[in-house]
Amino acid sequence: MLLKELSEAFGVSGHEGAVRQLILDAIKDLVDEYHVDALGNLIALKKGSSKTHRKVMVAAHMDEVGLMIMYIEKEGSLRFRPVGGIDDRVLLSKKVLISDNKVPGVIGVKPIHLLEPKARQQVMRVQEMSIDIGASSKEEAERLVKIGDYAAFDTSFSQVSGEWRTVKGKAFDDRAGCAVLIELLQESYPFDFYAAFTVQEEVGLRGARVAAYSIAPDVAFALEGTICDDLPKKRDVSPTTALGAGPAITIMDRSVIADRRLVDLLVDTAQKHGIPYQFKQPGLGGTDAGAIHLSREGVPSAVVAVPSRYIHSPMCLLSLNDLDNTVRLMRESLAKVQELDLSY
């Protein structure tokens, strides 16, 4: 299963090579041309069948949040800092793999026996943590790991099953979007379909900015694995998105106000084809669409996402039903993009 391979691939922001290779192998026979740009974005073109081509960019980011080694202590433990947004509380006692050599390590934790009662109430800061690779000395550690090496969570993908066909794994933000985008390339479209697998989204939408500049699209979609906070709450407030409730359509987040005409297209398509959908809670998060829609003279843009619980942690959950419905919704919506009136 491609999602399993994508999820387990090592691809922290700035180090997306393994993910890119995996995707390239999956799409190279499906597209007319492709190239890797200066920042590492994989940009593939599937030419349109119609004579008057609209350029449609669909983006999903390859990178995931992770860690970077910044100092090796004298006894051989590794100090590190986060790459992208990670809650310190999800780090302790987790398995990680360091660099392409996949050096295994554990983020060490002090046994409960040694903790003062007050310390148990406090969150340990990432600055105080270290990765233990079992090295006997600084010299041994230096043979295995270099300053600046990346570390990613060591998480195996697996089925949780149930009616929602739930799976667990890491990096569904945004390997879920990558999986959807790869699937969309199976189809033919009347417009020029630019699939952009972007780098460095988690550190500030950096790959998408330059990819959009070079593609100069007329319309853009960002595909995401997004926040899902649907476990029971004391107050009647938004779950952001809910697992199993279908693809989440963004109206407004911190980075973009989605183009209304594209939002309407997505909603109308979902209703016409009986595809479940939901709106993501407005006002939260940001995606590649934030950079794309401001490219050059502006690009009408929208975001469609697969809801995923516990993103930016070592273990996320998503429903394969939601993923399949995201593919369906995008496929049917894209079929109508060519004739969509984008004038004012």
Binding site: D218, D236, V237, S238, I251, M252, I257, R260, V263, F279, Q281, P282, G283, L284, H293, L294, S295, R296, E297, G298, V299, P300, L342, S343, Y344
Partner: protein
């Protein structure tokens, strides 16, 4: 011009939903400009002038943003109350006791959860919109719907009060300038931008498209002329303010001097403005492409981002006179 100001300020136009404002402006400038287009994000771009580019004929971009702050529904609860998120910089204190209106005219009241203490500062996550629906089933509102403050324009004589002077007053100044400007040696682009309140987004893309030599944003600025106000050397009625600096930009000194010298020449009052908080479209325009000589002509405004902002009518009229003066004459000096 007061009728135009009333029409523009009372229009519905939160960021990302500027269609009504754009239609109003289109109607008022049609016939007074040579070309009108709308770009992919919805910026309205009107060109006046057909000069070939040269040393004295510059490509000048004037920018005023059409959008206003507002709220967006983020969750509908089981009883039909609407949780919301702000669109742009909304002060929760100004929401308490306010009414908001949706695009279709539906009125909502802002309510608040019981505070933990009597002096607790209100936050938007503990507030909600109540549209008077008896239950969820009778509710027609949904997640993503936008609303803005309800507040009719009031003419107080010399002073005017309304919602959304930020920046419909700038739009009114640009519309009036387009109408009064008889001839210009320049190519003047009147750009009515979208999504300023959420991050100068329309200005960023329209500046890329227009690629101006010179730009002036027309927007509101704060004042220091109310009781125990934060110190600021800007007052209502002392003339339009020529920006020197705000949080996001340093105005091009050449543009600043061009405006000041023209005001002197025409005998128009003006004041210099140093604003500590906030910025305008000029910040995004200034760093577009290879850079643009940019400045700002500000309309001094009290109570910015509240439902009742206040301006002095003479500042508005003098801003128009100054712009017409600037655009009528060749570009003699400055931006080397």
């Amino acid at each position: 011009m007061k009728a135009l100001i009333k029409e523009l300020t009372e229009a519905f136009g939160p960021s990302g939903c500027e269609d009504t404002v754009r239609q109003i402006i289109k109607g008022h400038i049609a016939g007074h400009v040579d070309e009108i287009r709308v770009d992919p994000l919805g910026n309205l771009i009107a060109l006046k002038g057909q000069a070939p580019s040269g040393a004295e004929a510059r490509k000048i971009m004037l920018a005023a943003h059409m959008d206003e702050i507002g709220v967006m529904i983020s969750h509908v609860d089981e009883k039909g109350f609407l949780r919301f998120t702000p669109i742009g910089g909304v002060n929760p204190l100004t929401l308490l006791g306010s009414r908001v209106v949706f695009a279709d005219g539906t009125i909502g009241v802002i309510g608040r959860e019981k505070p933990e203490t009597p002096t607790e500062f209100p936050t938007v996550d503990k507030m909600f919109v109540d549209v008077g629906a008896p239950d969820k089933e009778h509710l027609t509102r949904k997640v993503g719907d936008m609303a803005v403050f309800v507040r009719p324009f009031a003419d107080l004589g010399q002073r005017l009060t309304a919602k959304a002077f930020d920046d419909r007053i700038g739009c009114a100044v640009l519309v009036q300038t387009a109408r009064e400007l008889q001839t210009t040696p320049h190519n003047v682009y009147f750009v009515f931008t979208v999504q300023e309140e959420v991050g100068l987004r329309g200005a960023l893309t329209s500046a890329f498209g227009v690629e101006p030599d010179v730009a002036i944003a027309v927007d509101v600025t704060g004042t220091g002329d109310t009781p125990e106000a934060h110190p600021m050397a800007v007052s209502l009625g002392a003339g339009p303010a020529i920006k020197v600096k705000d949080r996001g930009m340093l105005a091009h000194p050449g543009i600043k001097n061009w405006m000041a010298e023209t005001a002197e020449r025409l005998g128009l009052p003006y004041q210099f403005e140093v604003l500590e908080g906030g910025t305008t479209d000029a910040m995004a325009i200034q760093t577009s492409r290879a850079g643009v000589a940019a400045g700002v002509l500000s309309i001094p405004t009290r109570y910015v981002h509240s439902p009742s902002e206040m301006v002095d009518y003479s500042d508005v009229q003098n801003a128009v006179k100054l712009l017409v003066g600037l655009l009528s004459a060749p570009f003699a000096h400055i931006i080397a």
